[in-house]
Symmetry: C2
Subunit: 448 residues, 2 copies
């Protein structure tokens, strides 16, 4: 198994018994997940997903990815939230740093994750002259951001390829049976993939939502599912003493209960930046409710040691650091001797950059612990499709347990509706007239 969890550097800030005392509660949470009896139990499809997914659809995903790779220079993925971050995190973690600029790669771009007219205009400029395919991802088909982008890009493709040509280049990932996008896909004849009813957006990276873009980028999704399946088996036991995913959940809850309110996910490889964004959604949206929850933030080290490092070392002491570490580097680069040694770096000549990076990580950990920041480590043996799948499951399972320990429903997101309702009202959507008048009055009162 290729993930390990270590919280020895949190023990200067809490007693071991603060974790072990949670053992029976973790067991209760485990049963809530596995017997589908806790809050949000209608959204537990992710628990066994890696062990029992639709093999026929999986084969269709691989075939579609292959087809896109053979006839398109770029895939445009339209989606937001969980329909964006999972695929993006995997592709950035597992591809060439500049994958969209390397000759011979199928490029992947994202759209519908914002409402910026500059962004979509620039994207269309970039795509000029390229053969493209489109994967539109939306459970309902009516979410504002992706729906606007899809109107624009569908029109663009139909002009470029004709209606019939566009049809064979548009892939819809949506509800199995109902909704605007499903209706359209059936009417137009787009190949469709399913967003299961019992898997929420932030838990959906191992469904078609994530898998089609990921496979199109050239990543081995068989390996990814195999890694997730291994993790599903490994973390399928209620015993806190041995289940490291649950240990992570318990330790962060123990620290939260004694006043730590911000958790920083730390990496030392820039390719993991979007894994942190994915993790922020997973934990922030699962736990940030009922006026509770660790605030999830992220830093890319050592880059951000030169920006946020000062705060972490000496600012308010309400932080936890969780380091997502990769043991074996993807590539080795040896630092060369320099005759003049003006930079004084010859003491690292002959070492690899990764050795220096690892010493920076160790030194940082000790410095931050000394400064008053508990430190947790989630370590992957290496970074590949298999360990990515394991890691996804490790965090998903930990998140479910953690949210239940916190006393929230980890699988809903009632707060996300509030801005949408206001936005619809302000935009004049039929049915929102009363709210509209009220909001406009408030806006004019506040002179903004």
């Amino acid at each position: 198994m290729s993930i390990s969890f270590n919280y020895s550097n949190a023990l200067p800030f809490m007693q071991e018994h603060e974790v072990t005392y949670l053992g029976d509660f973790v067991k209760a949470a485990h049963e809530m997940l596995h017997e589908k009896k806790g809050p949000g139990s209608e959204y537990l499809g992710w628990v066994d997903l890696p062990l029992q997914y639709d093999q026929e659809e999986f084969a269709r995903i691989k075939a579609a990815a292959q087809r896109i790779r053979s006839n398109s220079e770029a895939l445009i993925v339209i989606g937001i939230g969980g329909s964006y971050l999972g695929a993006r995190s995997a592709i950035e973690a597992l591809s060439h740093t500049f994958h969209n600029q390397m000759v011979g790669k199928t490029q992947v771009y994202f759209a519908g994750q914002n409402i910026s007219s500059a962004y979509i205009t620039h994207l269309l400029e970039l795509l000029e002259g390229k053969d493209i395919s489109l994967n539109v991802i939306s459970k309902s088909g009516t979410t504002t951001e992706p729906a606007i982008a899809f109107r624009i890009l569908r029109d663009y493709m139909e002009k470029k390829y004709g209606k019939a040509g566009a049809k064979s280049r548009i892939f819809a990932t949506t509800d199995q049976a109902k909704g605007a996008l499903k209706t359209l896909a059936d009417k137009e004849g787009y190949e469709s993939f399913v967003i299961p009813d019992d898997v929420g957006g932030r838990y959906s990276v191992l469904t078609a939502v994530g898998l089609l873009p990921i496979a199109t980028a050239g990543i081995d999704i068989d390996q990814m599912m195999a890694g997730a399946a291994a993790a599903a088996q490994k973390y399928n036991n209620a015993d806190l003493a041995t289940n490291e995913s649950y240990q992570y959940a318990a330790v962060r809850n123990a620290l939260y209960r004694k006043g730590k309110t911000i958790e920083l996910l730390v990496n030392y490889e820039p390719s993991l930046h979007y894994v942190s964004e994915w993790w922020k959604q997973l934990f922030g949206e699962s736990e940030g409710k009922d006026q509770k929850g660790l605030f999830p933030a992220a830093v890319d080290f050592t880059t951000d040691l030169h920006s946020m490092g000062q705060y972490v070392q000496e600012g308010r002491r309400d932080l936890i650091e969780t380091v997502l570490s990769v043991k074996k580097p993807q590539i080795e680069v040896t630092i060369q001797e320099d005759e003049s040694n003006l930079d004084g770096l010859n003491f690292v000549a002959g070492m690899t950059m990764d050795e220096v990076n690892k010493k920076a990580a160790q030194g940082t950990r000790l410095a931050h612990v000394d400064g008053g920041v508990p430190n947790l480590i989630v370590e992957l043996d290496e970074l590949n499709a298999y360990t990515y799948g394991e890691m996804v499951y490790f965090f998903e399972k930990a998140c479910g347990i953690s949210g239940l320990l916190l006393g929230v429903n980890p699988f809903d997101q009632p707060g996300v509706e509030a801005y949408k309702t206001n936005m619809f009202a302000l935009l004049g959507k039929p049915g929102f007239e009363t709210q509209r008048d009220e909001l406009n009055k408030r806006l004019s009162d506040s002179t903004q």
Copy 2:
């Protein structure tokens, strides 16, 4: 003037007098800055910089940028922290979203901002066959991350262009008189630019540190300095009632004093993402000390409304939101009518995307205020080099005042040394032997 500040949506959470009572303290802080008598007064070169900078060097920067643009497809900028984030924030904010992929643009890449061997290897692969120039930025020339990258890239350039050819393509931004990089630049004959002694890294974007890369990207640095100069004049008065930069400083301090501990900088244009990273360094490194300071975090909306939105709406109520808003969009895109209207979006047909984006912003603000999050707005009339310069100064001045009100030295960063000392010791740097043994013992005790 093209920046305005509005805190009417913070007033449900505090009395107006909580701000006005700070007036005399703001005045005192203003005098500490302008009479150079407060803590950190040796680093106040940024205060008058836009009004009195070295015109001869400025002309050399523009000439160098022009030369790079004429003989290089890409500029590699080596730097970390303040020698990275300023230039990157300006270039991303003011260029084409995909500027490094557009034909005819001088590409700009960054190096030395991490210790990832994958990153530097991939960068070298990407650069293969391209004509390049190099701007190495380091006050001392011995900071580990940029020094390692410079060893690699200098070697690469000398192999590619020969020593003489490389010399004319390497530009050093460094100390005026001393240090490893200055010594090397003089010895090799690199053209050099100055990092002033009295301007700290996070305040350095309007010095050669930022200006050479920014000008090379094709951005009008005359306009940028003009905007900054206008702001330096506008915000050069001690009167809280009229100085909006100081109002921002006072309001965030007032909210901090009543328990708000996290400030989220919010944008609605993805191109502002790195402005937030720059802002995080500015405020986090200036204020995060003596166990104090607002924790700076950032979100890109509406993207992150679908990840962090739930937490902002309903999580722990220790958040402030500061929205960096742009009134006039860069590009207008009108949403088209769709006959079938399956997505139900025809109620926005005929509107521009930016109108929808603005309604989303208004709706979000009201929803978050209703949810218990005070909301501040910093609004730029539009986004261009001039307003970027203004905005930089607005935040710099606010940060100086804010840090002084908090009771810290806003211009030092003592905590950044802690990880470096440990790292040097663990790497076996001569002179750190005692710490090394001690740290290695601690590491082996914690089994990591």
